[in-house]
Symmetry: C2
């Protein structure tokens, strides 16, 4: 039986194995993903992002609790920014979500953000698919920070939540402005701290200044105290409301299409570059290119153009 | 006279214009960059990265002061994480570095982190080149956070500095672990705050645990109080020492080669994808692909494979 078939049956070991193969960029993983694909697209996916220190992990932990209380099966993906360097998640499942690890209805996976060709957004898409195929009804994806990686991940979820806390410095203010457009829902966590009112006011003003969103949705702001479990039920209701609105307006369909397109382009990019690199390595051309650049004999733009003219002949006029 | 020629002559307006064209991904910018390339590779480049709120901007500001005191011309690139969404730098040059803006020896540029094909690392490389060709002797690149973007940027500089502060939360601890391998030099800023000793101890232990670096360099840890200008001279001496060590050991040459290769591959990737996307859009194929995926008739891996077989015929066996 293929790994994919075992995953359909909810086999946890097979799912873990497949995720590891995806991480290791094994060729066989692609075949399994091909097989999986037809059985995906059913899970409700939720992204949780925000700067370090705002309590995202605690919030996710409490969200899992509420979802489990409602008998939903849950997948959790923790995208760990440490991983491009250390080669693996440091905190991840082990510390943060430990108490759910014995619950069979919860599958937790930390994700390495390594690899230049595909990148973390590629792996996240694939891991979501495995959990989706396993039958997990809700998948939570937690990411730190607001780089291109996060934007790409947000593009992969149904509802994205941006978490902030009162009283952070100037740098946070600038990040705040940046994440306005990716949040479907905003959460002010640690709302007992000084400055929560002001943060909410600022957020409201910034959201108004941003004008009407193309999808017509007005992002609500929720207040939580995740440590004490306060405000989590309300937040979950807000997520449900976003989900229903998107479906009612048929926007979910548009979202699905956009997502399919960008996912295809990501996969195409990673495969094309893999092939091209193999090709250029085989005949020692990459070494010659490197040499020509270091000596400033040729510039990389012209060199790339030459390779394209030769390899993409049927595309280039 | 081409923009590139004007840039060689140190024309500030021409440089600004070219940087804008690069940001706007104008075709003409590539031609200028081709012309520039032969005159680049002379500047000493320094990256400054770390989580939000550690005082990177203040540190960069003081570093500029010291460099200017030493009669060096300086370029500053502020990579602003807000930009993929807001379309421009929010704080950037205007607030942070204002006092240097009237100094002709300093060129400050905020950088948008938008665009999926090339990404921020691509633009940063190009902006560094423009400043390099202008004759800026030292180029400082400030980035926030530790995503793939930052890793790519770090790959573009001679010396990378990781800035931390005492007393940050758990999330920061996890980031700290992640940036160990990208830091040539560590800075504990706000070193007057409680916990500086402990942070230094932790850092030392983590650096030791990481084992010997392939280049044999042991990253030193400096303490600064950037707001008061304390420790900056020592830090600058440390950067100089890293620079000299790399040159003496011939490692700078290896660094240059690696950088040339990854830069070439980045440019190739962005050009190839641009061509492929145009090609697929022209004959409506992207729409058909989207459709097939949403209906789960075909999976994106197989679809990408089909496109590659057709377009990269000469590469694929």
């Amino acid at each position: 039986m293929s790994l994919a078939e075992k995953v359909f049956k909810g086999d946890i070991k097979a799912a873990s194995r497949l995720m590891r193969d995806i991480d290791d960029e094994m060729e066989s993983a692609i075949d399994e993903l091909k097989e999986l694909y037809a059985r995906t697209g059913r899970a409700n996916t939720i992204g949780i992002t925000g700067p370090p220190g705002v309590g995202k992990s605690t919030l996710v932990d409490k969200m899992v609790e509420v979802l489990r209380g409602g008998m939903k099966t849950v997948g959790v993906i923790l995208v760990d920014p440490t991983s491009p360097f250390s080669g693996g998640a440091i905190l991840g499942d082990r510390i943060r979500m430990q108490r759910h690890s014995t619950d069979e209805g919860v599958f937790i996976r930390s994700l390495a953000t390594r690899g230049h060709l595909g990148g973390v957004s590629r792996s996240t898409h694939d891991i979501i698919k495995v959990m989706d195929a396993m039958g997990k009804e809700v998948i939570l994806v937690e990411t730190v920070g607001v780089g291109q990686d996060e934007v790409d991940i947000v593009n992969a979820v149904d509802t994205s939540i941006v978490v902030l806390v009162p009283g952070l410095g100037d740098d946070i203010q600038s990040i705040k402005a940046g994440i306005l457009e990716i949040g479907d829902i905003f959460v002010i966590n640690k709302c007992d701290q000084e400055g929560a009112d002001r943060l909410e006011q600022e957020l409201k003003i910034m959201l108004q200044m941003g004008g009407k969103r193309p999808d017509g949705w007005t992002p609500p702001i929720y207040r939580t105290e995740a440590v004490k479990g306060k405000g989590i039920e309300e937040l979950m209701a807000g997520i449900q409301s976003h989900h229903e609105t998107m479906h009612q307006k048929g926007l979910h369909q548009r979202q699905k299409r956009d997502r399919a397109r960008s996912e295809f382009l990501e996969i195409l990019k990673s495969s094309v570059m893999k092939r091209l690199q193999q090709h250029l390595n085989q005949n020692g051309e990459l070494d010659r290119i490197e040499e020509a650049m270091v000596k400033r004999e040729k510039d990389p733009y012209t060199l790339a153009e030459e390779i394209i003219q030769r390899t993409l002949q049927k595309v280039v006029k």
